[in-house]
């Protein structure tokens, strides 16, 4: 390839590689093509970011704050630096430029703490050494003198008179419209007249809900390798969700032009939003540039809990009204999200929580307010479902409460109020693609229920493995009651509120070994979602080739945007499709020039590329691609955009803010041991509209995975922060529990495909919607089993036993 920028002096011993795949019988879109990286992953050969290795590399380690809020009086690094095997120790004073902060939207996050620390676990100093344990032990010798400050941990303490300001000198663009400097962003949504509409209500139901702080808990820890280049630049091999967003934040801190920070995506062990913000990227680059040696940083699990943002915990106040024939009259609600010490994605989470606060229902009169706080709690930002999850937990609990008060079936009540195509969002935006909310509920309700008391075995009594408490042998079925619950949710797809949400794809077509081969190069982060599979499927479908090579994602190609917001198959998939279409046109033009005089169809017919040949829409073969291309290659790099969105009005929340919506419904079946307060989820059935299933196997896998994360937050997952000290109490997999295979039930999935005419192939982003409704469905089922109100996630034994 020409024009390759200067690289590092030596490439690492392990790097991401091309993924070449061909010869599968199921190969195009709509088929369950197998992953091109599957074999590498099952043999242990796939190069994840923590597997990066370079001869003579050093190990970096981050020293983190042991307190949540304090002035830093002094830092003494002398003893650490004198430790044998240590090459460098860096603090704030060693940063090379005046750019000392970074951030997704607001640059308020220090690369290394300066002046003060604002949350437990904030990075304060860096060490590079020849062994990871040497680096850890040297870091422990750094002496920091903290003068502790009072902590702000909730809305009351954040907005109290005289409350400490988390960021004293805010200059970001939200400061002009927030009621207090400890509020990051506020978004009201006012449509119609909720007070007036409330007068028509026969019943009014209100509730207060608390959503705990969830962690992405991806298994691959934050990690990567920075290699200093001969030109003074740096090569960074790293796991992230958006290479170009990282680059934009990294280069100014290093004082390097962007072209001297060359980034390559390394194998990503899951992300779920937790890799949208930077973690070790700048730290590794600083150490590599300082020492002149390759530096690898790998967080351990304890550090990972401090190394990424979490899901915003939330308090939500909801009031719904309904007429006695079951029509919703109005909604009033207030959502308080705790964003922690730094802004991260909080402004966008506020936009989502407010604009999706009604849920997938038609309610004309609404009065909604969502805010995000600055506090000394751990920073919160993106996680699967992004603001919509918290709202769904509350509005679905409300739907059950209203239905109960009206004496209606909860599913029928939802169906009666379900939005459909043409319904206006509370933002005034019409839903202009299929919105099969009532149908999804119907489908999930129609699935056969699992048999009662499945734990009863013929003759042998109870199989304790199938009971709440499992092998702990806590019950043999006495005191175990069953419950069934339903929920449905709505999630926006793609980045909203006027964001220029584009993607870039480069596609090359040439003949290799007599066979036409397509090469697809994007900067898309493959985080496990299967984008690499789908890109190859799209190229095969559009270009009529079998063999497709997916190049590693890097910054030598234009931005693909983020692998988040359920957007990547839509936007980068759209970019690959669009670029393939232009490549196809150029290939056909080559063919016309070469062979046009031999057959009139070159000029007159609709021509397709199929099975390595140029064919007419009537199926007549005009030429092979090998003959058309010969030694030529067609190589294009193009940007692609979905239709634009606009910001929400800051006072009324009105505006066409979203691109597309995604819908999923769940039915949960649980069994509860009412004596010990133990819950066993028996089944979590899901129905979801995916527009078009580009890869049905992957679609079902995404839905089941999302469903399980929702189950986790319902019954076990929560980062516990001490309300007095703002310290994290459970940063380990011993104490922060994620569902095991024993905690996860059968998840039957019913996939609906109602095409969205605005989207490539009619597809709908799918990754997040299943995480929304699974939590409230489980809660509804537990309420149904126990008769308890249960307004908090996760449900713990003490909530069920009143102890």
């Amino acid at each position: 390839m020409t024009g390759t920028p200067p690289r590092a002096a030596t490439a690492p011993g392990r790097t991401p590689t091309n993924l070449t795949q061909g010869g599968q019988t199921k190969a195009g879109i709509g088929e369950s093509t197998l992953r091109p990286d599957g074999t590498l992953k099952v043999t242990g050969e796939f190069a994840y970011s923590s597997d990066m290795w370079h001869e003579d590399m050093l190990w970096g380690f981050t020293l983190r704050s042991t307190v949540a809020h304090a002035e830093i009086r002094s830092i003494d690094t002398a003893e650490a630096l004198a430790t044998p095997g240590v090459y460098s120790v860096l603090t704030y004073d060693d940063l090379p430029t005046d750019v000392k902060n970074y951030g997704l939207e607001i640059q308020d996050t220090p690369v290394l703490a300066h002046g003060k620390v604002r949350h437990h676990g904030e990075p304060v100093a860096l060490v590079a050494a020849d062994h990871p344990e040497t680096a850890r032990r040297a870091a422990a010798k750094i002496k920091i003198d903290y003068a502790e400050l009072p902590v702000v941990t909730d809305e009351a303490s954040a907005t109290a008179e005289g409350a400490p300001l988390i960021h004293e000198n805010r200059t970001d663009h939200h400061i002009g419209h927030v009621p207090h400097p400890n509020i990051v962003h506020r978004q009201p949504i006012i449509r119609g007249d909720a007070d007036e509409a409330a007068k028509k209500a026969d019943v009014i139901v209100s509730g207060e809900y608390v959503f705990g702080m969830q962690d992405q808990a991806f298994l691959g820890p934050e990690s990567g390798l920075a290699v200093p280049g001969e030109d003074g630049g740096v090569d960074l091999y790293v796991a992230t969700q958006w290479l170009h967003s990282d680059l934009r934040q990294i280069a100014p801190v290093l004082g390097l032009p962007e072209e001297k920070v060359r980034m390559t995506l390394s194998g990503v062990g899951g992300a779920f939003g937790g890799r949208e913000d930077l973690s070790m990227q700048i730290h590794a680059c600083l150490l590599a540039l300082r020492t002149g040696k390759p530096v690898k940083i790998v967080y351990n699990r304890f550090e990972s809990f401090f190394g990424h943002v979490h899901r915003h915990p939330a308090k939500l106040w909801y009031e719904h009204g309904a007429t006695k024939d079951g029509k919703l009259t109005h909604l009033k609600c207030r959502i308080v999200l705790d964003g922690g010490a730094y802004a991260s994605a909080s402004p966008a989470v506020v936009g989502n929580a407010s604009s999706l606060a009604v849920g997938p229902y038609a309610v004309e009169d609404v009065d909604i307010e969502a805010i995000a706080l600055y506090s000394n709690n751990p920073p919160c930002g993106a996680m699967r479902g992004f603001g919509a999850v918290q709202a769904c937990f509350a509005y679905e609990a409300q739907m059950d409460k209203v239905a109960k008060k009206l004496g209606m079936d909860p599913v029928e009540f939802r169906q009666l109020n379900a939005m459909e195509q043409g319904t206006l969002m509370p933002t005034g935006q019409p839903v202009d693609s299929p919105a099969p909310v009532a149908e999804l509920l119907r489908r999930v309700k129609a699935m056969p229920l699992p048999p009662e008391q499945q734990w009863l075995t013929a003759g042998a009594g109870a199989d304790v493995r199938a009971l709440p408490g499992g092998l702990s042998n806590t019950t043999h079925g006495e005191g175990v009651v069953r419950g069934v619950g339903y929920a449905v949710g709505i999630k926006n797809v793609g980045f909203s509120e006027g964001f220029d949400d584009y993607s870039t794809a480069r596609v090359r077509m040439e003949v290799v070994g007599g066979e036409p081969v397509a090469t697809v190069h994007t900067a898309m982060a493959e985080v496990g979602q299967g984008g690499v599979t789908v890109h190859a499927q799209i190229a095969r479908t559009e270009l009529g080739v079998q063999q497709v090579t997916i190049q590693p994602a890097d910054t030598q190609v234009g931005s693909a945007g983020s692998t988040s917001a359920s957007r990547q198959t839509y936007v980068t998939g759209g970019a690959v499709k669009n670029t393939c279409e232009h490549v196809r046109e150029q290939v056909l033009e080559l063919g016309r020039r070469k062979f046009g005089t031999y057959h009139p169809a070159w000029a007159t017919a609709e021509l397709l590329l199929e099975g390595g040949k140029v064919v007419t829409d009537g199926g007549e073969v005009l030429a092979t691609l090998a003959d058309v291309l010969e030694d030529a290659a067609v190589d294009l790099e193009l940007e692609w955009r979905h239709r634009p969105t606009e910001p929400f009005d800051l006072r009324t929340g009105q505006g066409n803010g979203h691109v597309q919506y995604s819908f999923a419904a769940h039915r949960a079946v649980v069994e509860v041991d009412t004596e010990l307060g133990l819950v066993k989820v028996i089944e979590l059935a899901c129905a979801q509209d995916v527009g078009k299933a580009l890869n049905p196997l992957s679609v079902v896998g995404q839905i089941q995975g999302g469903t399980t994360q929702g189950l986790g937050v319902a019954v076990m997952e929560e980062i516990i922060v001490d309300p007095k000290t703002a310290k994290v109490r459970n940063p380990s997999f011993t104490d922060y529990l994620i569902p095991t295979i024993l905690d996860t039930p059968t998840i039957p999935v019913d996939v609906l495909e109602l095409a969205d005419e605005h989207a490539p192939y009619g597809l709908r982003g799918i990754g997040e919607a299943p995480t929304l409704s699974s939590t409230p469905a489980v809660l509804a089922a537990i309420r149904n089993a126990t008769g308890l109100e249960l307004n908090k996630t996760p449900v713990r034994p003490e909530h069920l036993t009143g102890t």
């Binding site: 011993g13 590689t17 074999t39 992953k41 099952v42 043999t43 796939f46 691959g220 569902p739």
Partner: protein, 198 residues
């Protein structure tokens, strides 16, 4: 210290091992076998599961010195291990990857980089076919654990599978397709046995 043990059928030596180093660290960073994964290094997630004298263990919890003179099988050796099991053992005693080869570890050259032609253990192929691999970080540990289950029990019930894999966390799949994969490998094993008339 020096540690000498067998990895995937080959005798290996690691020098200058610090007394506190885990087997996981020695495998990944000294022997160039990164297949065993470092997800929690607390013995909670199972991503680093290997066979130690045939027994599945979290290699992050095993001190490297403890494996002196013993036998380790990692995901890199799973296909060979399964093949030898099917054939009744490793006759030559030099199956697996040599240390020199392992330290020069690189992904395979272009053309076969997805390893579509690679010889896989039945459980590895089943994970690919069932869609049980998403991000894949938990996959090596699950494969070692599932292969050991099928060695003990060639037709496990769902409850048996869940019990055997309960020490392996997966954050992507929701476990359904992992169950499918183990069921698939078990069914294929039965078919093969039936086909051979055994």
């Amino acid at each position: 210290m020096r540690v000498t043990f067998t990895v995937n059928g080959r005798r290996q030596e690691a020098d200058d091992v610090w007394e506190g180093e885990s087997l996981l660290y020695v495998l990944r960073e000294r022997m160039g076998l990164p297949g065993s994964k470092n997800a929690c290094e607390q013995g909670e997630c199972g991503s680093c599961t290997v066979r130690l004298d045939g027994v599945p263990v979290c290699s992050c919890l095993v001190a490297a010195g403890q494996v002196e003179g013993r036998d380790v099988v990692t995901v890199e050796g799973l296909a060979d291990f399964a093949k030898q099991r099917a054939e009744g053992g490793c006759a030559s005693g030099v199956c697996g990857t040599g240390l020199d080869e392992a330290q020069q570890w690189q992904a395979r050259p272009a053309g076969s980089r997805t390893g579509e032609q690679a010889e896989l253990a039945p459980i590895q192929q089943a994970f690919i076919d069932a869609g049980a691999v998403q991000c894949g970080f938990c996959t090596p540990g699950l494969l070692v654990a599932a292969d050991e289950l099928l060695e003990r029990n060639d037709s496990p019930s769902d409850a048996d599978i869940r019990e055997a894999l309960s020490g392996n966390l997966c954050r992507c799949t929701g476990y359904e397709k992992i169950l499918d994969a183990v069921r698939l490998a078990a069914a294929r094993g039965e078919n093969r046995t039936a086909g051979q008339g055994a």
